[in-house]
């Protein structure tokens, strides 16, 4: 029965909106990457390829400036984080779609990735002993605080992204919703009247989407950088 299948599918999408939207973002990113990869073999540089090369260059510069290390091993993780968060934030701008990052579970998953990336890169760069010693510096009394700060900054990372993206969508909903419920009779007139306001809010959330993706990546880099550089006494 096609009708049953369709209702089942729409029920599933409604119940697992964040998951389905994440799949959409992943499919978009993988598809774009495949297209760009195919273009690599063609002669000349296409528009898409130059966009991606520009992005890669900016990412490498960012990593080099923050970590003061060669960006090689850090590019895959942070490039993926940035692209995923960036595309997810902008996904909500398309009518009918929602930002996966407007869901706390998605941003929490991303933050947990960062939480585990810190010891991973730290141990790889400094060795296990040196990395663990970083927790008792400058003084063993600060051990609980160091561990606590690692957890709370992960929480803040997740809630920051979630709050910013969710509030953007919510604000639009509230503005339109308040107008339509309080001025029921003249709703259509007032929706037209609030159009400039909603347009402004949409532009604002567009800016927030780009800035938050950047902030998420930079903060993740700073956290990893703190884990990697913890024991360096004489920076070159």
């Amino acid at each position: 029965m096609p009708a049953d299948v369709w209702t089942a599918i729409s029920d599933f999408v409604a119940a697992n909106q964040a998951v389905v939207m994440s799949w959409g973002v992943m499919a978009l990113l993988v598809g774009l990457s495949l297209v760009v990869r195919r273009q690599l073999h063609a002669p000349g540089i296409g528009r898409l390829q130059s966009t991606f090369e520009l992005f890669m260059e900016m990412l490498c510069d960012l990593i080099r400036e923050i970590l003061r290390l060669e960006p090689g091993p850090y590019v895959p993780l942070f490039g993926t984080l940035f692209l995923f968060v960036f595309v997810s934030n902008l996904f909500g701008m398309v009518p009918g779609l929602h930002s996966p990052t407007g869901d706390l579970s998605v941003t929490a998953a991303l933050a947990v990735v960062v939480l585990f990336a810190v010891p991973f890169y730290g141990v790889r760069a400094r060795g296990l002993g040196n990395y663990l010693k970083g927790y008792v510096r400058p003084n063993p009394f600060l051990l609980p605080l160091n561990i606590l700060s690692e957890l709370t900054r992960t929480l803040a990372l997740a809630v920051r992204l979630f709050g910013n993206i969710m509030s953007g969508e919510f604000l639009l909903l509230v503005v339109v919703g308040v107008v339509t419920t309080t001025l029921r009779g003249y709703a259509s007139v007032f929706i037209v009247a609030t159009f400039p306001l909603t347009l402004f809010l949409a532009v604002l959330s567009l800016i927030v989407a780009v800035i938050q993706a950047y902030i998420f990546t930079v903060l993740a880099l700073v956290y990893v950088g703190a884990g990697v550089e913890r024991r360096i006494k004489t920076p070159q």
Partner: protein, 80 residues
């Protein structure tokens, strides 16, 4: 008004107050940081890249206070 409704009203008021009071200080602090950063960029446009990146990280750190308030108000609202 029964106890359940009363509790719900208190929850709403306290969550709103948490957010309202808790975002005052971060807002002032972020404004000050932004002012300083703009002044520095006006004085030394060459360093604008470093300044704005540090500004973003600093703002994120300042913002975490407001984020903890948001988490607290969520807990107040939704954890029964």
């Amino acid at each position: 008004m029964d106890a359940e409704t009363y509790l719900h009203a208190v929850r709403l008021i306290v969550a709103g107050a948490t957010m309202a009071i808790g975002s005052i200080a971060p807002a002032i602090a972020e404004g000050r940081a932004l002012t300083q950063a703009l002044e520095s960029i006006a004085r030394q446009p060459d360093a604008s890249g470093t300044i704005s990146r540090t500004l973003f990280v600093g703002l994120a750190m300042v913002e975490s206070t407001a984020i903890y308030c948001l988490v607290m108000s969520f807990i107040i609202l939704f954890v029964k």
